[in-house]
């Protein structure tokens, strides 16, 4: 286990160095997040629907599509000079490759969310100060779920044509449960409802994370076989 985690960390660190050196995907994702929030802000009629009613859905739609950019690039990095081949020959477990990619994707998406959340507050003027801790908690819980599944799909699709188009098409149906949970919990939090009202949704999010992390870890080695 220690060896697997060490190799995963080596891989994740390399991915993050590459990303923060090129800054292509992270900048695209951050700009995309800002633009989507802006479009939703100016594209709604504030007299028809209150911002607080729309805000949770908008937040999660934005985070989901911004995360797609991260997930798309995760294994694309390994196509350069067939580096993926080198990883598969190396004496490291396939699990460490998956966990490394997952960790790098989580950091990437977390950075995008860290920029997106203040922009969301700014544009929609929602009261998050009182619920910031639980809100960050639910963002983390849902993000782990969809990045876990997305990293697996990204590996499955990396050698296919039109991978960038296929990823959202295949992934979005799997994201419905965590998105539903995340939107429901976020709505209750922003409405200052007690956490006990959303205990069921939180359990669903946690269960989704555990189930799909286990499944993805087990399935990943088969997705990268030649």
């Amino acid at each position: 286990m220690g060896e697997t985690l060490r190799h995963a960390w080596t891989l994740a660190r390399k991915d993050l160095v590459l990303e923060f050196r090129t800054r292509t995907a992270i900048l695209s994702a951050v700009v995309f997040t800002a633009l989507v929030l802006m479009v939703f802000n100016f594209g709604r009629d504030p007299t028809a629907v209150a911002a607080i009613d729309l805000a949770p859905s908008i937040l999660w739609v934005t985070f989901t599509f911004a995360a797609m950019l991260a997930l798309n690039r995760a294994f694309q990095l390994e196509l350069e000079n067939q580096a993926l081949e080198g990883l598969l020959v190396a004496p490291i477990s396939r699990t460490s490759i998956y966990w490394g990619k997952l960790a790098a994707n989580l950091v990437f998406v977390a950075v995008v969310e860290a920029v997106g959340l203040p922009l969301f507050v700014l544009f929609f003027n929602v009261p998050v100060a009182q619920v910031l801790g639980p809100l960050v908690g639910v963002i983390a819980l849902a993000t782990v779920g969809f990045v876990t599944v997305g990293t697996l799909f990204s590996a499955m699709l990396v050698r296919t044509r039109f991978a960038e188009l296929m990823l959202p098409v295949l992934l979005l149906p799997f994201l419905i449960p965590p998105l539903m949970g995340a939107v429901q919990v976020t709505a209750r939090l922003l409405a200052a409802r007690p956490l006990s009202e959303v205990a069921g949704w939180l359990r669903l999010l946690a269960a989704y994370d555990v189930v799909f992390l286990t499944l993805a870890t087990l399935l990943f080695p088969h997705t990268v076989e030649q």
Binding site: E3, H7, T10, L11, K14, V17, L18, R21, T22, L77, E80, N81, Q82, A83, E85, G86, L87, L88, V89, A90, P91, I92, E225, Q226
Partner: protein, 226 residues
């Protein structure tokens, strides 16, 4: 020791490996010659563990950790420097941390890359990238070297230096398997020679006292062209 026993593999209806068997012991260098599409790369990928054969078995003494692999791509990241790339692969191959820098510096020096070590790989010429790939493959001091067209892109001096290095490694008890479509390359290194065509070894045996010219002539008779 490196053993292949009855290897079979096909891509659709195209037979890439057809009952390939051989045994190599320390110090042996097997040069596999064959035209494009003969199955040489598939054989090396099977030996490296990249492809699971549909039939037959392989055994590499020491497992994946004992294998050094140079494929038809460099398996290096363009936006990392040569040194960063080598340090990354050294970590994945569990080269002990205190030895890593020294091992990387030694590889860079041997490949004549010491003064280019801190340049990103994408800034190097193809020949220099190939030299970096050679340095990468030797970082963990593998007992078995699998080389697919390793002279591609090397200039005459670098190719001669690499041949000297391979001879030295074989002399130190390493097993080398070298695949190329160019019969003139690597003949003088080989202790054993195989001609591969349509997935089969049409000839396999010790090189003996045959000169390079005699091997080329024999190849033309066995396979055609050359």
């Amino acid at each position: 020791m490196l053993r292949a026993d009855g290897l079979r593999h096909a891509f659709g209806r195209v037979r890439a490996l057809d009952d390939i068997s051989f045994l190599l012991t320390p110090g042996q260098t097997l040069a596999i010659f064959g035209p494009n599409g003969a199955g040489k790369t598939t054989l090396l990928k099977v030996l490296a563990g990249l492809i699971r054969p549909q039939g037959g078995t392989t055994h590499v003494e020491g497992g994946p950790r004992a294998v050094g692999w140079i494929g038809d791509h460099a398996q290096l990241y363009g936006h990392l420097t040569v040194r960063e790339n080598l340090l990354f692969w050294a970590a994945l191959y569990d080269v002990p941390a205190p030895l890593r820098r020294a091992r990387v510096d030694e590889g860079l020096r041997r490949q004549g890359l010491a003064d280019r070590a801190d340049e990103p790989v994408r800034a190097l010429s193809r020949g220099l990238v190939q030299r970096a790939a050679i340095a990468r493959a030797l970082l963990h001091e593998p007992r078995v070297l699998l080389l697919d067209e390793p002279f591609t892109g090397l200039d005459l001096a670098a190719a001669a230096e690499f041949r000297r290095l391979l001879a030295q490694l074989a002399g130190a008890g390493r097993i080398v398997v070298l695949a190329t479509h160019n019969v003139g390359e690597g003949v003088e290194l080989a202790t054993d020679i195989a001609f591969q065509q349509r997935g089969r070894f049409v000839s396999l045996g010790p090189r003996g006292a045959r000169t390079a010219g005699a091997v080329v002539e024999e190849y033309r008779r066995a396979v055609g062209g050359g």
